[in-house]
Amino acid sequence: MAAGGQAINCFVLFCLAVACQGASGLPLLFARSSAAAQRFSVLLMLTGSCAGSAAALWSLTSPAPVTFALISGLPFGPGSLGIDALSAWFLIPVFLVTGASALFALGYWPADRHPETAARVTFFLGLLAASLSALLLVRHLVLFLVVWEIMALAAWFALSTEDEKPEVRDAGILYLVTAHLGVLVLFAMVSLIASLTGSYLFPAPGSLPAQGGLASAIFLCALIGFGLKAGVMPLHVWLPSAHANAPSHISAVLSGVVLKVGIYGMVRIFSCFATPPPWWGGTVLILGAISGVIGVAFAIGQHDLKRLLAYHSIENIGIIMIGLGCALLGQSLASPVLATLGLAGALLHVLNHATFKALLFLGAGAVIQAAGTREIEVLGGVGRRLPRTGLFFLTGALAICGLPPLNGFVSELMIYLAGFTSLKSSPGLMGALPVLAVPVLALIGGLAVACFVKVYGVVFLGEPRSPEHVGTGDPPASMLGAQALLALVCVLIGVAPICVARPLENALAAYRGGFVQQALVPMVPFTWITLLAVLLLMLAAGAALWLRRRTGRAAATSRTWGCGYLKPTPRMQYSASSFGSLLVAWFGVVLRPEVHRTDPAGSFPGPAAYRSHLPETALERLFLPLLEYLYEKSAPVRHLQHGKLNLYIVYTFLTLVVLFILTTR
C-alpha cells in the first residue's frame, strides 16, 4: 500500500510539472512585453522542473512501475499512463535542460527587447517541455503518436521563431518535412505492433517474439522513425540547419532532449522483444559507428558555431547507438555483462550529452549575444571579455571530448568496457562486432578533441579577428546561472559517478526485469574514477600554484613571438578552417568540401582569395537529387492533386469505401 501511495504522489507531482510547463507560456500572451510576466513564466517552468525532477528521482531510487488507465472511450481503447525507472531516467534531462533553458531565456530573449517574438518562443518552449514530459509517461501507442505530434509541432514553432529570415524558414520547412516522414513510419510501426499484440498498449518488456518478418518490420520502422528524430546518419539532414537557426536556448532543448526521445522510443520498443536476433544489434552498432565518425568529421569542417555543435549531436547520438548496439548484441549472444555495460553506457550518455550539449549551446548563445555573430572565423579572444562563459564552455568542451574528470568520460568508459569485455568471450563474427566499438570510440575521441580545441581556441582565445565582433562582457546572472547549473552536473557526475550507479541499475531493471544480473558497481570502477579525478585536480592545482609562486606576480609581458615577423596582426592568427583543413582533407572522400580559390598569378599578382565550405553532403548530393528525380517521374500522378476541395472529399469517400470492402469479407 505504501508503494501505491508513493506512486500516486509521484504521479501527482508529474501532473503538476506538466501543468506548470504547459501553462508557463500563458502570462506573456496577455502582457506581451512585460518583464514581470516573463519572470512569472520562468518561475512556472522552474517549479515544473523542480517538481518533476523530484518525482523522477523518487521513482528512480525506489522503483515500482505503475500504470494508470486514464481516459476510457477513446477509439483505440483506454488511454494509459505509466511511470517506471526507464521513463524517469529520460525525464531527468527533460526537466534539467528545459528548466535551465527557460532560465537562460530570461536574459537571452527578454520580453522588453523582443516584444513580438518573446511570447511565441516562451509559449512554445513551455508546450514543448510539457509534451516531452508527457510523452515519456504515455503507455498507449496512439496517445503516444498524438503527444509526439504535439511535440514535433511545438518544436517547429519554437525553432522558427525568427521566421522573417529566409534561412530560418528553410530550416523550419526541412524539419517539418522530415518530422512528418518520421511520423508516417511510426504510424506503420504502431499498426504493426497492434497487429502483433492485438492491443494499442505498449507491450510488456520481453513479451514479443523477435523472430519472423513482422518483428523485423517493427524493428526497422522503429529504427527509421525514431532514427529520423534522433538524427542518426544518414537520416540527420534536418538537424544541422534546425539547430543552427533556432534561438540558442531552443537549440539546447532540441539537441539535449528532443533528439533523446528518439533514443527513448528505440529503447522502449527494443525492450519489448525477448531475444533480438544478432543482426539488429549489428545494424544499430554500425549505424552508430557511422554517425559517430562522420558526424564529428563534418563538425570539424564547420565555421558556424551552432552548426558545428549540431554535428556533434549527431556524433554523440552515434556513441549512444554504439552502446545500444552492444546491449542488443549482448542480449542476442546471452552475454549479460556486455548487455548491461552497453545499455548503461548508452543511458548514461543520454543524460551526459543532454547536460554538456545544452551547456555548450547556452554558452554559444551567450557568445552570440555578446559578439553579434555565430561565424567562428571572425570571432576571437572572447574568453577575456566573457571569462565565466569561457570557463563554462571549457567545462562543456572537456566533457564532450570524454576527457577525465568530467561526465563524458564515465559513459564512454562503460561503452569501452563493453567492447573490451566482448573480446573475452566472443563466439562468431557477431560476437566480434562490439570490439569494433573500441577503435571507433578512440577515433571519435581524437576527432572530438581536435574539433573542440579548434572551437575553444579560435573563439575564446587569442585576439579578436574583427573589431566589430569583440564581445562586450559576461551575460546577466540568469544566463550565467543556467550555465553554472549544467556545468555543476557535468563535474558532479564526472567526479562522483557512484551517485548515478543506483538509479542507472534501476533504469536497466526497468528495461528488462532481471536484466541486471550483476550490479554495475563491481563492473565499472566508480571508486577509482573518483580517486583519480581528485588526485588529478589536486596535482593540477598544486602544479599551477607552484608555478605561480615560482614565477611571482610580476612576470614580464611582451608581444607573442612572431617568428621574426615584426608586425603580426590579429588577422594572421590561425583560422578555424586552417585548423581543420588537414582532417577535412583526410575525410574528403566522404565530406566533399567545396573550395573556391583565386590564386595569385603573374609577376604582379592581383588580389587572391580562398574560401572553403562544407555543404550538408547527404542532403545536397543524395536526398535532393533523389527527390528531384521522384518529382519528375511522378508528374502524371500529380494531376490528381489540383486544389479542388470537393473532389478531395470524393477521394476520401472512395478510399473509405475501398478500405471497407477490403476489410469486411
Binding site: 574568453g383 573480446l423 570490439v435 577503435p439 581536435a450 582565445l461 563492473m523 609581458t557 582532417l583
Partner: protein, 302 residues
C-alpha cells in the same frame, strides 16, 4: 610497498635521462662527444630558476596548460606497470584512463598554444591534434590485442601476463603490434621521423612550435612532462618487448631499466639514420602503423 616507492622514484626521476641517452646516441652517430647524459637535468634546473616572459595576448589558459598537462601525465604514470611489477593503481578499465589522460594533456597543451594567437603555434596545434587522431586508434588496437591475449582489462595483469610462452605462441602478432607501438611512440613524442625537436624552422615543427611562447618554469614543466610521456609510452613498449621474469624484484627492476635505456638508444639510432618525413607522408606512416596493429588483432582473434 617498496616496489611502489621504487616505481614512483623511477617514474619521477628517470625520464630526463632518456633524453640524455638519445642525445648522446645522436652525438655518437655524428662523431661528436655530445652533451653529458645529465644535461636534461641541468636544463630543467636552469629553467626552474629562470624568470618568465608572458605574451600580452594570453589568458589564464596559457599558465594552466603546462600544469594540467603535467598533472595528467603524472596520473598516467601511476597506472602503468614498470617491468614485472604492479602499478601503484590498477583496476579494470585503467587502460582507457591511461590513454585519455594523454588526450587531456594534449587538449591543454594545444589550447595553451592557441592562447598566444600566433599562427605558427596554431599550425603546430592543428598538426598535433590531427596526427593524434590516427595514433589513438593504433594504441587502442594494441590494447585490444593485449586484452585478448591476457583476458583482463587492466594494464598490470595484462602486461605481466606476457611471458616467453605467450611470445612463442603468438610472436608474429606481437612483433606487428610492437612495430605499430614504436611508430606511435615516435609520433606521440614528436620524434624524428614525425617531428624534429632540433629544427630551426618553426614552419616544419609540431611540438616545439606549440610551446614557443612558454618560458622559464612553465617551459620546464612542459619539457619534463614531455620526457615523462616518452618514458611512460616507452614503458608500455618495453613491457611488451621484454617478456622475462627473473623472479627477483631487484633483477626485474634492472632488466626494465636496461630495456628503457636500450629503447632510448633505438630512438636515437632512428633519429640519426632517418630524415624527417614530409608532412604529407606522416599520415601514411601512421595509417600503416594502425593497420599493423589491426593485423596483430586479427592474428590473435582468428
Amino acid at each position: 610497498m617498496i616496489d611502489i616507492l621504487v616505481h614512483i622514484v623511477i617514474a619521477l626521476g628517470l625520464p630526463p635521462l632518456l633524453l640524455g641517452v638519445i642525445g648522446k646516441t645522436k652525438a655518437a652517430f655524428a662523431g661528436r662527444v655530445g652533451a653529458p647524459f645529465l644535461q636534461p637535468y641541468y636544463d630543467l634546473a636552469r629553467l626552474f630558476r629562470k624568470g618568465v616572459v608572458i605574451s600580452e595576448t594570453t589568458s589564464w589558459i596559457f599558465r594552466a596548460g603546462p600544469a594540467v598537462t603535467l598533472a595528467a601525465t603524472l596520473c598516467a604514470g601511476l597506472l602503468i606497470p614498470l617491468g614485472r611489477h604492479t602499478a601503484p593503481i590498477s583496476f579494470d578499465g585503467d587502460l582507457v584512463l591511461f590513454a585519455y589522460l594523454f588526450a587531456l594533456g594534449r587538449f591543454f597543451t594545444t589550447i595553451a598554444a592557441l592562447d598566444t594567437g600566433s599562427s605558427f603555434e596554431g599550425m603546430g596545434a592543428a598538426r598535433e591534434v590531427s596526427f593524434a587522431c590516427l595514433a589513438e586508434p593504433t594504441l587502442f588496437f594494441a590494447l585490444i590485442t593485449l586484452t585478448r591475449l591476457s583476458g583482463t582489462l587492466s594494464l598490470t595483469p595484462m602486461l605481466n601476463h606476457l611471458d616467453l610462452s605467450v611470445w612463442l605462441g603468438t610472436g608474429a602478432a606481437l612483433i606487428l603490434m610492437l612495430a605499430g607501438l614504436f611508430v606511435v611512440l615516435l609520433a606521440e613524442n614528436s620524434r624524428i621521423p614525425f617531428d624534429d625537436p632540433n629544427t630551426h624552422l618553426e614552419l616544419t615543427m609540431i611540438h616545439e612550435v606549440m610551446v614557443l611562447d612558454h618560458s622559464g618554469p612553465y617551459f620546464g614543466c612542459i619539457l619534463y612532462g614531455a620526457a615523462l610521456k616518452l618514458f611512460l609510452l616507452g614503458a608500455l613498449f618495453v613491457n611488451v618487448a621484454l617478456p622475462f621474469t627473473t623472479g627477483s624484484s631487484l633483477a626485474d627492476w634492472l632488466v626494465f631499466l636496461a630495456g628503457m635505456l636500450a629503447l632510448s638508444v633505438a630512438v636515437g639510432v632512428v633519429e640519426s639514420v632517418m630524415a624527417r618525413l614530409r608532412l604529407i607522408r606522416v599520415p601514411q606512416l601512421l595509417v600503416a602503423a594502425l593497420i599493423l596493429t589491426a593485423f596483430s588483432l586479427v592474428l590473435v582473434v582468428r
